[in-house]
Amino acid sequence: MFNRCIIGAVALLTALGVATAPGFAHDEGKYPDLKGSWIRADRGQATPWDPSKPPGRGQQAPLTPEYQAMYDAALARQAAGINLTSCLPPGMPRSMIVPEPMELIVMPDTTYIMLTYMSEFRRIYTDGRKFADDIEPAFSGFSIGTWEDTDKDGRFDTLVVETRGMKGPRTFDESGIPLHKDNETIVKERIYLDKADPNLLHNEITTIDHALSRPWTVTRSYRRDRDAEWTEHLCAENNQYVTLGDEVYSIGDDGFLSPTRKDQPPPDLRYFTPSR
């Protein structure tokens, strides 16, 4: 309503021949109120990609036979206690699981999504630009968005996003549902507040990827906390593991390597000169 008032005032002044300053106010009233901290609304220790289904094979990921075999192998390794650790960021689309708080900042030309988990940072450009022919790959990809007023009330309510240009390796979730190594993923999102509950944010996410036999759409939701305290998530600080080849070792507080499973062989020291 205030926006229309400004427009009316400008029109009035213009009609009277009064020069008006060009619009300079960033009118937050045009956009939904996305301020605060948001965290995944689904509960449970596991964080499967599709929150409406059980984790692991219960996700019924529409994988191609080749990538289903890769996933089965990953599940078998986990069952054997082998968990290859990594402090690489999840990237898109997995970062939108939001296991730790997220903040959205809406500016007219860009919406920023700041993710605590792995300190990921997304820029969604809403300045009308097109995708370049060559995009520098990034785990979070390159995102272009458009605001829509789907209920025609004069205010934007939905951010429609497309993301390309990702790098890998990436998985959909912690169970290791793989995305294709060609990294030609396209992720489409529709982000909007719940009509009945303004502290609930929805994200309909469609992933198109060559590891999939068809596009895979999930709806994730996030709950707002306006007074959350922001913390840092530092994978390297808490990660006391190192991967050498196919083996994962532990680094103790005393700085020595130790095994992570019974009868694990020690690391191969082939590059060290043996003492005489």
């Binding site: 009233g29 500016m107 840092e232 196919d246 700085g255 590059y271 060290f272």
Partner: protein, 278 residues
Amino acid sequence: MRAFSSIGALTVAAMLCVTATSAGAHDEKKYPDMRAQWTRIGSAAFDPNKPGGRGQQPPLTPEYQALLDHILAARAAGSLEGNMTVTCIPSGMPRAMIVYETMDVIVLPETTYIRMSYMNELRRIYTDGRAWPAKITPTFAGYSIGKWLDEDGDGRFDTLAIETRGFKGPRTFDGTPGIPLHSDNQTVVEERIYLDKNDADVLHADIKVTDHALTRPWSVMRKYQREHSPHWSEYICNEGNQQLLLGKENYMVSADGFLMPVRKGQAPPDLKYFNQPK
């Protein structure tokens, strides 16, 4: 006549708008235009106006000078001991303001965000008038409260005055040689950030550090250049980082996944916790 008519119309329009519901217009003209990508001007030494290493002349206490001497000796021997960014621990404050890569500044009325692409560090500087919380969860970036100042009295803010507390560590002032801050993490960092009066493409950060590793507060002045054609890259420390710190020794992990020495004659790590062949 036209001026009087204009004033009258403006007044009517303003009255109409004030009575209408406002969802909060953010008047960006009240604030300096800092929203940009910035890159550092000058060296990556904490004080860019002095040579690196001992040339920085940090005002360290005897205890922390001795620690720095030890680190310098370790560096000369090829060790990276004390440089925590080697293991992808972030720089933290105040070191993050060296801006090794790019810096992103976003100004909103209640918070100014400063994000470093190096180590993906994010600072939130709260300008909503809040008091210091009774308890701060320590972070490498610290907890920052800021206040906008209109130093030249022209009706627009020009300087962001910031105080940052609530740190965790270990932190150093720089990467090389790794001038240490005190292990008690009771650092207080005060900053004044403002655009250059003669060149709006230059941003200044006057930084003063109070820390128990120092005999007195240490003040430096850093500058940054606005990039008009920003290129945003993702910095992922763990991607391609083959460094490994085991205790005070650093090693490398080869491309084929084996441990490697970093200097001639370096002994392999002690594998005492493994069942060695008899």
